[in-house]
C-alpha cells in the first residue's frame, strides 16, 4: 500500500463521516426553524424519511421484485406456481425445507436455554466478566471463521492414521472408529446446528445477563425472605422479569438462523443432505441461473418467519396498550 493509497482511504473515511454529519446536522437545524404550520409533519419526515428511503430502495423494492420473480421461469416468463411445485415435489428441495425447520426449531431454543442458564449461573459470581467474554467470543468471529474452526473439530482421518479432529479423537479414545461426521446424514445437519448454537449463545448470554441485572433487587430479596428455593426464585421472579429480553433474543436468533448461509456453504456446500433454504436460494439464483426458483425459496423463508413477526407485533401492541 502506497502512502497515497493510504491517504486516499483516510480521506474517504473522514469525508464520508463528515458529509453525513453535515447532512444530519443541517436537517435537524432546519426543522427547528421550519414554519409553525406543518412543522410536526416536517419534523416527522426529517426523522423518518432518510431511513425509509434507504429501506425502500434496498429492501422493499427487491422484496417486491423477488415476489414477482417467484412466478417466472429463468427466461422471465410467467409460469404460475411451477416454482413452488418444484419446491414441494423435488426430494432435494423438500429436504432443504425440512432442514430449515430443524434449524429454526433447535438453534433458538438451545441457544436461549444454554444462554439463560449460563447467564443466571454466572450472575454476580466472581469472574463474571471473563465468563461472559469467553462465551461471547464466537459471536465476534465471522461465520466463515467459525466454519473453519469447526471443520477442524470434525475433521476425519482414517482409523489407521492419527486423528487431527478432536471429535473423532474422542471417539478413538473410547475405542470407537472415527466417523465422517460432515458426510453422514442426519447427524451432519445437527453438527452444523451446533456451530450456529456455538455462535449465537454468546448473544443470548449477553442480552439475558443484562436483563437479569435489570430485575429490581427488592423482588429477589423478597423472594429470599419468602424462603423460596433457587428454582422457584428463577421461575417466579427472574423469568417474568426478563420476558421482554427473551423475546428479543429468540426473535433475533431465529431470524439469523433462517438466513444462515455461510456456515452451510463453508462446511458442506449444502451437500450430503445439509442444504438449507438460504443456501439453496443462492445456488438456484446465481449458480443454476434459476432466479424464479431462488425467489420462490425466498418467499418461503418469508412465510416461515411470519409467525415470529406476528408474535412480536402482538407483544408490541400489548406494550402500547400498557402505555
Amino acid at each position: 500500500m502506497t502512502t497515497a493509497d493510504l491517504i486516499g482511504k483516510i480521506v474517504q473515511l473522514v469525508a464520508g463521516i463528515a458529509v453525513f454529519a453535515a447532512v444530519v446536522g443541517l436537517i435537524l437545524f432546519f426543522i427547528d426553524r421550519a414554519p409553525k404550520r406543518g412543522r410536526d409533519v416536517l419534523q416527522l419526515l426529517a426523522f423518518l424519511l432518510p431511513a425509509l428511503i434507504l429501506l425502500g430502495i434496498g429492501l422493499v423494492y427487491p422484496a417486491i421484485r423477488t415476489a414477482i420473480a417467484a412466478f417466472a421461469n429463468s427466461a422471465g416468463e410467467f409460469v404460475g406456481f411451477d416454482n413452488f411445485v418444484w419446491m414441494f415435489t423435488q426430494p432435494e428441495a423438500l429436504l432443504t425445507l425440512r432442514n430449515t425447520v430443524i434449524w429454526v426449531i433447535l438453534v433458538p431454543t438451545i441457544s436461549t436455554i444454554i444462554g439463560l442458564a449460563y447467564a443466571n449461573f454466572i450472575d454476580r459470581s466472581r469472574g463474571e466478566k471473563i465468563y461472559k467474554s469467553l462465551i461471547f467470543m464466537p459471536f465476534a468471529i465471522s461465520f466463515v471463521g467459525a466454519g473453519i474452526i469447526w471443520k477442524f473439530v470434525y475433521e476425519y482421518r482414517p482409523a489407521s492414521r492419527d486423528q487431527i479432529g478432536l471429535l473423532n479423537q474422542i471417539l478413538v479414545w473410547f475405542g470407537q472408529d472415527p466417523v465422517l461426521w460432515l458426510q453422514t446424514p442426519p447427524v451432519n445437519t445437527l453438527l452444523l446446528i451446533v456451530v450456529m448454537i456455538w455462535v449465537q449463545t454468546g448473544f443470548a448470554v449477553v442480552v439475558l445477563s443484562a436483563a437479569i441485572k435489570g430485575i429490581p433487587t427488592e423482588q429477589l430479596e423478597a423472594a429470599d425472605l419468602d424462603g423460596t428455593n433457587g428454582w422457584q426464585k428463577f421461575t417466579n421472579v427472574t423469568l417474568p422479569g426478563i420476558r421482554g429480553a427473551l423475546v428479543v433474543v429468540v426473535t433475533t436468533i431465529s431470524i439469523a438462523t433462517l438466513k444462515v448461509f455461510d456456515i452451510v456453504r463453508t462446511m458442506t456446500g449444502g451437500n450430503f443432505e445439509t442444504s438449507v433454504v438460504a443456501n439453496e436460494m443462492y445456488t438456484q439464483a446465481f449458480r443454476a441461473l434459476e432466479p424464479g426458483r431462488g425467489s420462490a425459496l425466498a418467499l418461503i423463508l418469508f412465510v416461515l418467519v411470519l409467525p415470529i413477526v406476528i408474535y412480536n407485533i402482538r407483544v408490541l401492541r400489548k406494550q402500547r396498550e400498557i402505555r
Binding site: M1, T2, S74, Q90, P91, E92, Y156, P158, A159, S160, L180, L182, Q183, R265, T266, T268, G269, G270, N271, F272, Y282, T283, Q284, F286, R287, A288, L289, E290
Partner: protein, 448 residues
Amino acid sequence: MSSIRHRRWIGPIAAAAAIGITLTGCTGDQAAQESANVDCGPYSDYGTFDSGTEVSIYGTISDVEADRLNESWADFESCTGIDVKYEPSKEFETQINVRAQGGNPPNLAIFPQPGLLAAQANAGYIKPAPDAVAANAKKFWSEDWQKYGTVDGTVYGAPLMASVKGYVWYSPSMFSDNGWEVPTTLDELLSLTEDIQKSGAVDKPWCVGFASGDATGWPGTDWVEDFVLRQQGPDVYDQWVTNEVKFTDPKIREAFDSVGDYIRNPDFVNGGLGDVNSIATTEFGDAGLPILDGTCALHHQATFYEGFWPEGTTVAPDGDVWAFLLPGTEAGANAVTGGGEIVGAYSDAPEVVALQTYLSSDTWANIRVKLGGVISANNGLDPENASSDLLKNAVGILQDPNTTFRFDASDLMPGAVGAGSFWKGMVDWIGGKSTDDTTTFIQDSWPQ
C-alpha cells in the same frame, strides 16, 4: 492479484518507456531497450494507449497461477500502455451473474466453463468476438475447440489454457518392483487392479478424493465422463451433453457401473485413506498423495495434478510419479476429455479488444506456457515450451490431429446439472445410493 499493486507504479514508467521506444521507431531491437528490457516487436499490432487505460479481467485463476497470468501480460502492458487489472474470485461462477445482471461486469472474463459463457451470451451480456479474435480462434484452434467459444454460430471468444483429463497417476518404481505393466485397454486396467489388490503390496489399489469445497463431487464426474467417452464414443458423449442421451440411458448407466467397479468396490478403494465413504471427504488435492507413501497404486486426475505433489517429487517416466492416459476399450484409442477456459468480453473498447486479441494469440500461449504449470491447445504453441515432461506429452496429445478431444461434459451441461446435481449425485452415489436412483435424480434436475 498480488502484482497489481506492484504494477501500479511500474506501469506508468514502463508505459513512458514504451512510448519513447515507439517514438524512436524501434521495433524489437534488443540493445536499444536494455533499460526496459522488453521486446515490443510482437506487440506492435496492438497499438499504444494513454497511460492509465485500464482493462479489468475477472476469473477463477488464483494464487500462484494468478501471478503467472499477470506475468504473462506484463510485457504487453508495458508496450501498449494498457493497465490490466486481474481480479480472481472463488465465487466467480455466481458473482459473474450477479455483476452482469447488476450492470457492472468486468471488461473481460475468463470462463472456466463454456456453458457459463453460453448463458451469458444468450442473455445478451457478452459481446461477439471482434474480428481479430475470431480470426485467431480459427487460425490457432482445432474445430473441437472453436466450438466451445461459439454460441449459435456466433464466435464469442477464443480459448485460453487447457488441461487434459483422464490421466492415471502411478509410481514407476512401484510398478517395476512388482512387475506391473501400464495397461493399454480398459480390460487390462481392471485386471491390473485385481492383480494389485491380490498382491497386497499396497493398502488398496486406488486412491480417490471427491472433496472440493462446494464443488465437492466433480472428480467423480470426470471418472464418469472418461468412461462414457471411451466406452460409448464421442457421438454418444455429445448427445449426452445435450441430453439427447439421458442420464438414465443404459449407456450412461453402464459407464456409472464401470466406474463403480473401481471406486465403489471396497477391495479397490480407498488406498491409505479409509473405506469407500472416505472418498467423499478426501480433498481431491490430497487424494493422490498416498502413492508416495506406498499405500495406494493408482490415482485418476488431470494434468494439473502435477502441481499437487509435494516439493521435491520428480514427475517423469523414471521418477517418483508418472501418469498414463486412461486407456480405451481397444489399444491405441485416442479420445481424451479435458478442460480449458474461454475469454469473453463485456466491452468492445479498443483496449479491451487489444487485450482479448493478445490473449488469443500464439505469442501469449507460448509466453504463458513457458512460465510453467499449464498448457494450451493453441496450435502455435511450441511443445518444447511446456515446463515438464508430462505437459509436453499432453501438448502432444492436444496437437495430434488424430486426437478426439471432448470438453469436460459437466462443464458443458446446464449449471443446474453440471455444477449442481451431477456433483451432488456423485457424492450420494459414492455414499451408497444406487446407480438407477442417482442417474434418475440427476436426469430429473435437467432444466425443462
